[in-house]
Symmetry: C2
Subunit: 339 residues, 2 copies
């Protein structure tokens, strides 16, 4: 029997994809031929090997629509905003891949590896522009005041997103990173847009301030849980399911939560880490070390804690609402995922 989340996803995900495509084709007319094909590639609408495999999970637009429904609003009226947050997420992926020199995403070449740095910086900017333009499709019964409010929430989220990314880039060269700095970083880099998504869902569905705040906080903690779980999977995940080598976070030298935790706690690990890149053949031993240091347990505990906080905010929403139930199981499933 499909869960409520599956049921609502089955209705919402195709609607999100349709809205994104319509907006996208409107936004990139004939003279934008090159831009159209570059971005269609990145968004998983071109050169895919199988159905949907190259697309992301569309988590942000899904939680946005569930947020609207959770406050008894019409989720279909919120579709343009759902498309906007997914475009924004993808703009940030395009730029992050350049900044982090990542060569693969979802098992395919990243956009910059395919078309070069210059065109892909600019393609990311185009998607950023399109995201803001997409909000113009919001219409009755949504008021101009609400649309302005959506712009405000989204603008602030983008600023936090870039602030988080700046910190993350800074971490690359940093010798000592406080765990608190890591949380400040992911609050911007991951939680800001997740928070904005559920908050915007609320803004578009109701004028109830308490519910808006509950949904915003739900999204915030969901984002934090999502990132710490992602960090865990970057080291302990199933290689094939993540679409990239599970070991890659150690090999690429990413300062993820388990690594930052171990750097703070274990002199021997710190010495090894600072002495040069970790080689693929060392990964098994280093993973075992991290386990012993307690880095995996700590990361898992943090994920559970953030998930619990997210779920606490769900209590402020009507428990008999289908979307509220779906958000609850989404939070539970996301942080139990193995890929």
């Amino acid at each position: 029997m499909p869960s409520l989340l599956d049921e609502l996803s089955a209705e919402m995900l195709p609607a999100i994809e349709q809205e994104m495509l319509a907006t996208f084709n409107d936004g990139f007319p004939a003279q934008f031929g090159l831009m159209h094909s570059m971005l269609a590639y990145h968004l998983g609408w071109q050169e895919t090997t199988g159905r949907n495999t190259a697309r992301g999970k569309r988590i942000r637009p899904l939680t946005l629509l569930l947020g609207t429904m959770a406050v008894e609003g019409d989720w279909r009226a919120a579709l343009p905003a759902a498309a906007a947050v997914e475009f924004l997420h993808n703009f940030s992926l395009i730029h992050d891949d350049i900044e982090d020199r990542s060569e693969f995403r979802h098992g395919r070449l990243t956009l910059w590896k395919k078309v070069g740095v210059a065109q892909s910086i600019n393609a990311g900017d185009a998607l950023f522009s399109l995201a803001f333009l997409t909000l113009q499709r919001l219409s009755m019964p949504i008021s101009a005041e609400s649309i302005c409010e959506v712009y405000r929430v989204l603008g602030a989220a983008c600023l936090n997103l870039t602030g988080g990314q700046s910190l993350d880039l800074d971490f690359e060269a940093a010798k000592d990173i406080e765990i608190q700095s890591y949380y400040t970083m992911i609050e911007g880099k991951t939680a800001a847009l997740m928070r904005a998504s559920t908050e915007i869902g609320a803004v578009l569905g109701s004028s109830d301030a308490a519910k808006r705040s509950a949904l915003a906080n739900f999204g915030h903690y969901l984002g934090l849980a999502f990132q710490t779980q992602d960090d865990l999977l970057g080291i302990w995940g199933e290689t094939s399911a993540t679409g990239k080598s599970a070991e890659s976070d150690l090999v690429t030298g990413k300062k993820s939560l388990p690594v930052i935790y171990a750097l703070q706690r274990d002199e021997q690990f710190k010495k090894r880490w600072n002495s040069g890149p970790i080689q693929a053949e060392e990964v098994g031993k280093i993973v075992a070390d991290l386990d012993l240091i307690g880095a995996r347990d700590y990361t898992q505990q943090q994920t559970d804690l953030f998930t619990q906080r997210a779920l606490d905010y769900i209590l402020y929403l009507p428990s008999d609402n289908k979307a509220v139930m779906a958000l609850k199981s989404l939070a539970e499933s996301l942080t139990r995922r193995r890929a």
Copy 2:
């Protein structure tokens, strides 16, 4: 005796700078320390050798405010939008400098040369975000409907901006460029934001559709004239005054209007151009060739034509309005500039 334009500039430019600074300091609080200093450098508020030398001309915000005043609106109420267009312009400069591998701007190192590609892509994104957030400072008597309209005009302009930049990047490798493609390119890359600036000025000052259209078209042709003149100065300008070598457009291989014109008209020039980069010591001869081919005359004629079209649209605005007179002299002076 100072002209009307000088008089209004003397009042408006400091107000623009103040609004930009206030928004900027609001937008980048303590945890954004690095971002704050990177962007303050780019915007000419840090590490400048002399007063204002590292700042741009602030043409876009100035024409926006003059646009508001030209339709009898209160230009001070439009200041947040003026700051927004200048932030957007600067976001695009930061990314263009990376994409074009430009090492100097206003006689100083470009941001990416100073802080690296990764941080400067992200800093550009932060400025983009701030631009959209800045519009939230628009307030009474400006309605939510007008603010939404400003977001629409600006979002569309950004999309065109990136479309133009994509074409420009494409030109680098292209063997044959039609002059028409060049105009499509600068319509996006340069004219879109100039058009948006004057159009937004109108939107914020009045609900008169005819005046809005006149100001939008004025900005459009002003942008085209500005770019063709810039192309002319990139080859025939006074070295010192442009802040970069006047010859650099030939040496860097920029496919500017005079070059595209000559490539279409002269086989010998085309042969030389396609055989490899032009060396600094050749510049004198190549400039003389371009003169003979008529590339300078053609470019000058186009600038004059676009300027005249811009001025034609001024006729739809009240001729006794000070800002209208100032816009008129701005158009005349910009395209007669030598730097």
